[in-house]
């Protein structure tokens, strides 16, 4: 059902092959197709609206390049604007000079937090750091077990304790990190809906008492129009430092990534590309924009022209 944007554009442009300028009139149908492609990629409607205005402004008046087709030229404009919206790119994690760096992951249920904790621990360990995983999800059945299994697989220590208070678990983890000489603490929190006031308050308590240095929002690439609502609320509650987009290994177009970036202003740091613990990659806007538009090498083609 998702045709390549280019294919759709070429049918929208029909017989339009005029040499000369891109004008409002001659790109109208084409831009409609772009809008559809973005909505089918689950880019938030509000974001799409603003974006389309910008693209229109930038495209109109452009000289048509003789060696490429007009639809290819439009795709290039759209592509470049999207990349700009996704940036700037910064997949680094800032570490504290003294004492352990505390990283907290949060997000909706099932978005991939626990798995991503493992992936981060693996990545940081490979860079010579000593991570401690902290099982602060006391909600989901066997959440602690899940993190323990992951810790075993990575040979990374996991802190947990029989408690019903996640704030206390996180606090106690600090002492444990010192005992084990760990320089990075990764907090796995329970999934929660942004409208769940009680659980959101609990998260704020952790932030207040434990003061994580980096708070990452774990966002499922499959998310639809509601992505900005949840990301916005988490950002309001916690001041996010970064977003990690998961499940990008399928055919999800990942419009949520763009929407979340645009609405929160928080950069995407990493993407999850599979269930296994080595499937974490630094965020690459080129790649996700390509996926969003469903296009191959058009951009290179236009760039070369």
């Amino acid at each position: 059902m998702f045709d390549d944007l280019q294919k759709r554009l070429s049918s929208a442009f029909g017989q339009f092959r005029a040499r000369g300028l891109l004008t409002e009139a001659n790109i109208k149908d084409g831009l409609r197709e772009v809008r559809t492609a973005l909505l089918e990629a689950d880019v938030n409607l509000q974001v799409v609206k603003e974006f389309m205005e910008k693209v229109g402004e930038r495209a109109v008046g452009q000289q048509l390049i003789k060696s490429v087709r007009p639809e290819q030229q439009i795709v290039k404009v759209v592509h470049d604007e999207l990349i700009e919206l996704m940036g700037p790119v910064d997949p680094s994690i800032r570490f504290e000079k003294t004492g352990p760096t505390i990283i907290m992951l949060c997000g909706l249920q099932g978005s991939g937090k626990t798995t991503t904790c493992g992936k981060l621990a693996r990545l940081l360990a490979s860079q010579g750091r000593k991570p401690l995983l902290v099982a602060a999800d006391l909600q989901r059945p066997a959440a602690i077990e899940q993190l323990k299994v992951i810790g075993q697989q990575l040979q990374v220590p996991v802190f947990s304790e029989p408690s019903s208070n996640p704030v206390k678990v996180c606090q106690d983890a600090l002492a444990e990190a010192n005992r084990q000489a760990c320089d990075t603490i990764i907090l796995d929190t329970a999934g929660r809906l942004h409208v769940d006031d009680e659980l959101m308050a609990e998260l704020k308590q952790i932030e207040k008492k434990v003061k994580p240095h980096q708070v990452f929002f774990v966002c499922d690439a499959l998310t639809g129009q509601d992505a900005v609502a949840s990301a916005g609320s988490f950002n309001e509650a916690l001041e996010l430092d970064g977003v990690i987009i998961t499940k990008l290994d399928g055919d999800a177009r990942g419009g949520a990534a763009l929407s979340v970036r645009k609405v929160t202003g928080v950069p995407v740091k990493f993407v999850g590309m599979g269930e296994k613990l080595d499937k974490l990659q630094p965020f690459d806007p080129e790649r996700i924009v390509g996926q969003m538009l469903g296009m191959g090498d058009i951009v290179g083609l236009v760039e070369a022209a």
């Binding site: 689950d42 409607l45 249920q109 991939g112 059945p141 323990k148 639809g224 509601d226 949520a256 269930e275």
Partner: protein, 287 residues
Amino acid sequence: SKTAQLFNIRSWFGRKVDQSFLDDLEARLIQADVGVKSTQRIVDRVREAYSDKTADDDLLNFVKAELKALLVDPRPGTLAVSPSKPTVYLIAGVNGSGKTTSIAKLAQRLKDEGKTILLAACDTFRAAAADQLTVWATRSGSDIVKGAPGADPASVAHDACDRALARGADVLIVDTAGRLHTQSHLMRELEKVRGVLHRKISGAPHEVLLVLDATNGQNAIRQAEVFTKSIGCTGVILTKLDGTAKGGVVVAVRQTIDLPVKFIGVGEGIDDLQPFDADTFVESLFT
């Protein structure tokens, strides 16, 4: 957080049905994840029937009726029951959609009807997946069959069938690992599990339920198509409707393939499962 309440549809009454009106209707549906194509279909129908008229209750009811007619299931919340024991339900879906939790809820519901339940932990891949199902089995008073981590899911299904037959369980519910529909080797693995159930128990699986996450956007259409092609889904459980996501993608799913929504998930607790009600669902799209 403001997108969910774009507008109160009643405030439209008295407006002329012109392009700006239709644009507003379109926006409402898109924001509920109904998708461009399905939205276009509905907007076109409204344009045909109401162009230049004044929006009123009648128009609103027209739109709602279109959606309800599409989504209605003559037997919501009911699942096929096999004439001979056990009835087998196979549960599948992408990662983290809510399969295991929905199984717990389903088990509790059937248990409340006086049935004996066996759960098969065929997710041998995800860390502690079997432990998670075990906790739920205990809470719902169900029996469980599991394999070692990394074991062949089909062999766990095989053992579960044997146990269900030996114990005379009324219902066998099979949990499977989450997988993206694009992972063809994992889809084949799922087909193998289905094959085992089919060979071991007459008429099984009696329902194949696809668990869709209401926060998912248009990708859910592909999920529904590919899972159905692979293992013949018979219905949907739509989870996480307790958030602000509308789950409108089931409209698009239904317009693409004939897959009724059977239940909705409205929380993480064992009782948070409800029969799908098209009326309530459609009303919620417009509030």
